[in-house]
Symmetry: C2
Subunit: 537 residues, 2 copies
């Protein structure tokens, strides 16, 4: 992973000419940004932890598992939001941890937490490092130092219960490796967020991730049936059944807790069979309003595709749903509908009606059913070509960001969710906030996660960098957060809270809700060493 950008630098791409033209003519992007600082020139503070502290940490995990090198510290600095990248490009390593720890077991994690609690060392649990909400920037104030607790060595697929379709995995397992290990058993999680190439299973759970195929496979929190968690006050082991009436569901208190209550050391996850057949196709709607109505009917009446995404007029025009062909957009509003299922139809039973037995769950049956709804709601089928283009570019958008930052454009995403009847208000509020806070920005939006009662809204905004681009974006972000709170949406559908949404989250939760979190925090992490400054205001 590029330390000052996204992913593998080899995959970086030139912007196509029509996008350069648009940036120049429409957004006023004239000056390229200052070149990114070299790795060698990144400014780091000296290691704040004393030799005695480092020795005590090494006593737990071994000397070679306590890293204080420049390389290790820089690679664990900040996450992957646009302000994070802008700061790293400017050579600002001020948020670097003093050391990176590499525990190899639950017991080592637990021992490190006890030690850090006793010595008042702040701990930042670190999975894939892909937070886009400032979730990796802990407060130093009052602590002897800050360590990144990198879970990379906890990367095993521990066991597979094929009868229950439940697997046990460790938190540091990266998503692509998890899929490779599961595929040997014919299984998949079906969880493909844009961070897929780098993110870890523990991070997905701690941040309530939601993937591009959430309509079919559910959100990551739907997949978690059990959690083992190490806290400074002891261990938690939650989840004896898929669902229970035995009190509150404490799994749902740990999911989304972003490392402030404890460190997830094992996950029990619902899996599915690897689909033998996948079809992704495109549909066009005349307007975002019409397309939204169609998605709503699909979510409420079914059958629901596995992947479902609707771009608004601007996003469709730019062609963002197919990042590899960016700039080659079209009119109207593009829907991507994907269907995944078994390769072969189920065996037909004795029930009458030839050929009908398997249609309720098959790719073709669901595709026909959903297609009928989309057509009834005014959609025009575009065939499978747009689907293939979307699939091909589904993890490309973040690479595009690096290219845009380099030419002097700021690009960032913001997202929210709400009930269907609130979506138009929410859509207008966020757009207005961005249009008001930035100079002639390009604002695009899509819906990519639907529920019976509502959906997410995901905005991408591009604008010319003006003055200090971090300060420029922070003003826009503040306006967006306020707009979401006022319009009644949630401050995040799948990015999380971190540091960037903390105040808006408090407004969403209300003072007593915040106090609940504080009470739990005080019990599990009484010295407050876990991710100070994250999530809880």
């Amino acid at each position: 992973m590029l330390w000052s950008g996204w992913g593998d630098p080899a995959k970086a791409r030139e912007l196509p000419p029509q996008i350069r033209e648009l940036l120049h003519d429409l957004l006023g992007v004239h000056e390229p940004a200052a070149p990114a600082a070299s790795f060698e020139s990144v400014r780091l503070a000296p290691v704040a932890l004393s030799p005695a502290h480092l020795a005590a940490l090494a006593d737990v995990v071994g000397h070679e598992r306590v890293l204080t090198s420049r390389a290790a510290r820089i690679r664990h600095t900040r996450g992957k939001s646009t302000p994070d990248l802008l700061r790293m490009r400017a050579g600002d390593g001020s948020a670097a941890p003093d050391a990176v720890l590499l525990p190899g077991s639950h017991d080592e994690v637990a021992a490190l937490l006890r030690l850090c609690a006793a010595e008042r060392i702040a701990v930042v649990p670190f999975g894939g490092g892909t937070s886009v909400v400032g979730g990796l920037v802990a407060s130093r104030s009052g602590f002897a130092g800050v360590v990144a607790l990198d879970l990379a060595r906890l990367d095993r697929l521990v066991s597979v219960d094929a009868e229950s379709m439940v697997v046990t995995a460790e938190p540091g397992l990266r998503a692509p490796e998890a899929e490779r290990l599961l595929e040997r058993h014919g299984l998949t999680l079906g969880h493909f967020p844009q961070s897929y190439e780098y993110a870890t299973l523990g991070g997905f759970a701690a941040a309530r991730s939601s993937g591009q195929a959430s309509a079919g496979y559910g959100r990551f929190d739907d997949m978690v049936v059990g959690l083992t968690v190490a806290t400074p006050s002891g261990d938690l082991d939650l989840g004896r059944a898929p669902k229970s009436a035995a009190g509150p569901d404490l799994r749902q208190l740990l999911l989304g807790s972003e490392g402030v209550f404890g460190v997830i050391t094992a996950l029990r996850l619902r899996v599915r069979r690897v689909p033998g057949r996948r079809v992704y196709e495109g549909w066009r709607f005349g307007s975002f309003r019409e397309g939204t109505a169609a998605l709503r009917v699909l979510a409420q009446e079914g059958p629901l595709p596995t992947v479902l995404r609707l771009s608004d007029e601007t996003e469709t025009m730019i062609g963002l749903a197919r990042p590899d062909d960016i700039g080659g957009g079209s009119s109207g509003c593009l829907v991507i509908a994907g269907y995944e299922g078994p390769a072969e139809e189920l065996v037909e039973g004795p029930v009458e009606g030839p050929g009908t037995a398997s249609l309720a769950t098959s790719v073709e049956g669901r595709r026909a059913g959903a297609g009928a709804v989309l057509a009834r709601m005014g959609g025009v089928p575009l065939g499978t070509e747009p689907g293939r283009a979307w699939e091909h570019g589904r993890f490309s958008a973040p690479y595009l960001r690096d290219s845009l930052l380099a030419v002097g454009a700021t690009v960032e995403t913001v997202e929210t969710a709400g009930f269907w009847s609130a979506l138009p208000r929410l859509y207008d509020a966020v757009r207005l906030a961005l249009l008001g806070a930035l100079e002639s920005p390009l604002v695009m939006c899509h819906i990519s996660h639907v529920y019976e009662t509502g959906a997410s809204l995901y905005f991408t905004v591009v604008a010319a960098q003006k003055g200090d681009p971090v300060a420029q974006w922070e003003r826009a972000k503040e306006a967006v957060n306020a707009a979401i709170v006022t319009a009644g949406g949630t401050i995040s559908h799948h990015h999380g809270v971190g540091r960037d949404h903390r105040e808006a989250y408090a407004a969403e939760l209300g003072p007593l809700g915040v106090d609940i979190l504080r009470a739990v925090k005080a019990r599990l992490d009484p010295s407050g060493i876990l991710n100070p400054g994250i999530l809880i205001p």
Copy 2:
């Protein structure tokens, strides 16, 4: 509701001769139980609250809303577990509240909680009074008295958002009345637990209820998208979107909290369209093992019926799945599979394949698909007659209990849930515990709630009353609880924790999990007035 039994006494039924014979010959039930005490003879303690306390409570809700009559107190004593009924039949009113309060608004509930906290009066939130886990028997120790907070006047359907398919309702609304009000809008919750005739929406949420059609409509906690809660420390208002990544899901901390954190004063609930078509049918499997495998495949591969229930060999033999014809059982293991959906097929779209467009969601398409799976797994179709019989008797079983108690048999239900691979162990453990603790009991079991990763097990046990029937059952219950904990199941799939599962729940959660609940409790209800002795050990 009968004060010492279940439901409307007019619906009570004689036991059929073959059941009387079975009780006599197989279970050794010879002596009828002592006749139930008369209402007039129930022993009540004097009202413990002082006139000053009663006057202060009346200041909040009005004099006529503070009831201290014998009738009001007896009707709010205990719930509907078998030990509850046995104690009431014996005239034991010792658990009666001192007064029954009838607030009419959120603000009145909040004011009552503040007053009771200041005066150390214990508060038992009261919905339908149908708890079967001792959830209505609060500890008196250290309190000036105990009041039942009856939510019967908070019974409005407040608003309907047909676009989002979300309704706002008050907690005291009873399920049948909720369905009547929703039906005017063409809507339904689809939530039909056995307590349906009396239970309230607030109770469903507070106790994480799950209904007979959970395969199609989900559990009640799946339906809750928002909650307003009054606590002694202030109000909570949770749920701005169907799903969110903004921190832990605090809705899931209040769901299942059984009134110990606060009183739910409004619910925002996902609704569905009233189905225009319903088909319930029967299937027979050779063994519980084979039937369980078939249900597992349906849950994992689909299509899932709306109602799905599998009786084991004993329950099938007795015919418990059709309580109106009890005694007329059969061999093998009976499956009831119900399908609900739109009356008319969806409009067909432009997608090729005549007649296929609607099958993925239609009753017939799902029925054919599920039927193919059931047949493939060894099931034999029995047509719709067993389905009709099940539907007709679906709320009858509790009435049967009153008849059994009267003739000298003890009957009670226990339930759990676990992952599929753990179910055989769990099934054996609970049966063995019952067979060991009671003299030649009849033990029946069914699965009626399935998930991709596991299912519930619901046992009904009948035995001759011996000695003190309450003590007799308490010994059996203790053995069952221990068996469930040891076998790795959850202590309740849908009955809840209350007082009867409190210690087993603590074992399931672990000491740190219990401490989380205590920390939340201390913040929301610092004087501990809400349901003392319930849920939290």
